[in-house]
Symmetry: C2
Subunit: 444 residues, 2 copies
Amino acid sequence: MTAPVMINAYDPSSAGNLDPAVSELIARRERVLGQPYRLFYEEPVHFVRGAGVWLYDAAGNKYLDSYNNVPSVGHCHPRVVEAVARQASQLNVHTRYLDEGIVLYAERLLQMFPHDSSRLMLTCTGSEANDLALRIARTHTAGTGIIVTANAYHGITSAVAQISPSLGLHVPLGYDVRTVPAPKDYGGARDPGEVFMRDVEHAIADLRRHGIRPAALIVDTIFSSDGVFAGSPGFLAPAAEAIRAAGGLFIADEVQAGFGRLGTHMWGFMRHGISPDLVTLGKPMGNGYPIAGVAARPAVLDEFAAKARYFNTFAGSPVACAAGMAVLDVIEDEQLMENAHTVGLHLKEGFEALSKRYPELGSVRGQGLFLGVDLVSADDLSPAPQLAARLVNELRRRRILISASGPHGHVLKIRPPLPFTTEHADMLLAATDEAMKALTTSVG
Amino acid sequence: MTAPVMINAYDPSSAGNLDPAVSELIARRERVLGQPYRLFYEEPVHFVRGAGVWLYDAAGNKYLDSYNNVPSVGHCHPRVVEAVARQASQLNVHTRYLDEGIVLYAERLLQMFPHDSSRLMLTCTGSEANDLALRIARTHTAGTGIIVTANAYHGITSAVAQISPSLGLHVPLGYDVRTVPAPKDYGGARDPGEVFMRDVEHAIADLRRHGIRPAALIVDTIFSSDGVFAGSPGFLAPAAEAIRAAGGLFIADEVQAGFGRLGTHMWGFMRHGISPDLVTLGKPMGNGYPIAGVAARPAVLDEFAAKARYFNTFAGSPVACAAGMAVLDVIEDEQLMENAHTVGLHLKEGFEALSKRYPELGSVRGQGLFLGVDLVSADDLSPAPQLAARLVNELRRRRILISASGPHGHVLKIRPPLPFTTEHADMLLAATDEAMKALTTSVG
């Protein structure tokens, strides 16, 4: 029995000589943390400080963060830190007492949604948000069937792991879960939206054939763990219509795509002109403070409110809402969505140019500051996960942080903090160029 | 269809005249938050500041907090606030990079556990901790059957809601979940430990009769939502042995009882001289910062580590661990466990004395600063949830915060921040005395 593949994980059996201080910290860590914990990189990094798009190791070296979307407005952004510190010193209670902070935050956040997604439920993590969305959808529809993409990742609670095929073969999907191929570009031969809709319809029919009523189609609107796919605006609309026609809900998982990262819109689903029944939020929401949530059409919550009790002890606290509010302030004041758009275009063009020079760099996908770049074999263009892992580690040696994902582990995942500038983009591109030169030359 | 009973919830249809500012804030809140949200009290309170055992409303009135166990070392404790602020301004990353904070915290925390509970997995909430414990137990045992007490509450993910009968009839238990009566005092007629063990054995047999392999017995070691029960030290041991003899695990849910609240031990299970397979932690762990976790026997994690991937984005971050560490420092430096013991004894004696004077105050149970007091009918000693709700609201008018729980909603739940002194205890007792006088006189 083997653990599911995690590209880019530290493997003590194949690691080279590590810095003794790093080795000792790893040994101490392994004595006290559970065995499921993993570290990034052949040579794990020990950071001691972060600021903006930079992380600093114990020796004072700085690393360009091109990967982490949680510190979305920049590592340790002073406005978020100050908001958390100020509120934590003043009041931190749960939602069964009145607090103006949660109301102000919900009012502000919901203005960024279509008019009918007008109610907010707060949780602490994206997993909890997706788990709650499942409970709401299953209660509202009286169905249980869930449709997900083939390598989706929606989180790690028991129920959400059952709709997350990317967790690997040893984490079984639920009996009432069906997968559909992730949308992709057919080079004009077929319409991705049409194909995706037909696949969803097929999954609906298969659920019904098994006596399972469809509850929801849930999609990560940037298809991150499926290898990153933005697609043409609007292509998701037919599939959303299909699940609704079958009595199910359309859930937009914005945990990764949301909060302006895609540059043109605050949320990925907005590119498609659709209004989801439920929208789940997470990672960048508090710039590292644990806050996540679900925006909902009010009618969808009626049945759940009548039947179930939902109280999340830490969620929606004054401190969580202060963090969330500060993040919205910074996104707006520093025009980070616009920056994601501009720098994202520049970065995408840069990778497209590189891919013309290196046959091992294949398709470049995504939008804004969420890009995926395929690493492929120069011979037959087949997925090259080992090359992706070597590139990721080569970039780490050049002090650029990145990772790889996708069903074959061959997709470079580029997802930096949003204050990433064109200069930072150029550093990433130059380092990728050098690393590819070194790797493809040494390979021969 | 009706929502599950929540004693002490604000009900707009029966509320009196509220302060206009409070009414307006409620109206705004209801426009933007999901319908499942509830407020405490006939007349909800709007707090704007907290310090120690006190909360302050917008008009500057102070309320004695006799209920909230999350701000366990005191509302807005400056050492915790400072630790969070300092770390948040320096570094906040996930656990796939090396960080000494998580290692130091795990080393320190695990010293407080039996030697064989030597590995830590961190989550953000107690619900996530219990959900992870279920995943681990089910993977380790290759069984799915879970045994819980009759009115248990373990959290709100899909899987954990299925083992939380206290959520009400409209939230169905899993097909593989069995309930056993919560332990209670039989007045010497029967041994509670023997009865509980036999009930667990009966549930194991019933699971097997349905072809379900037992995975775990999980108990809240203070049986909070079952109405609070500490019982004689050691009484839980036979039931823990029974589930192990059947190949299942014993999970101690310390989300409510843990971190010194019971006065004599850091964890409730330690009163029983047992060493659980899994221990789940939550609420008071970060004094309001979202941190929770699972302490485990290493062998129990082997199968899970081999089969599953578990990465919790926000959990175990440097900031979460700084909050957790500061809480342990304060518990130790301010001798809060010892205080819980001393003040808890004083408070329990005080309620016992009151119960001799008011026939409506029945059994007084619990240990340390976690007490339950039954409200009963003076006529036939039957549960009196309406009286409990009136007492809770009467105390709120006297600016004392408290709530009620238990299967019938008739148990006063007393669970203050740990810096509660004998003077605070005397205030609570005096106010309860006055409130009971007012209520029982007006009733006639």
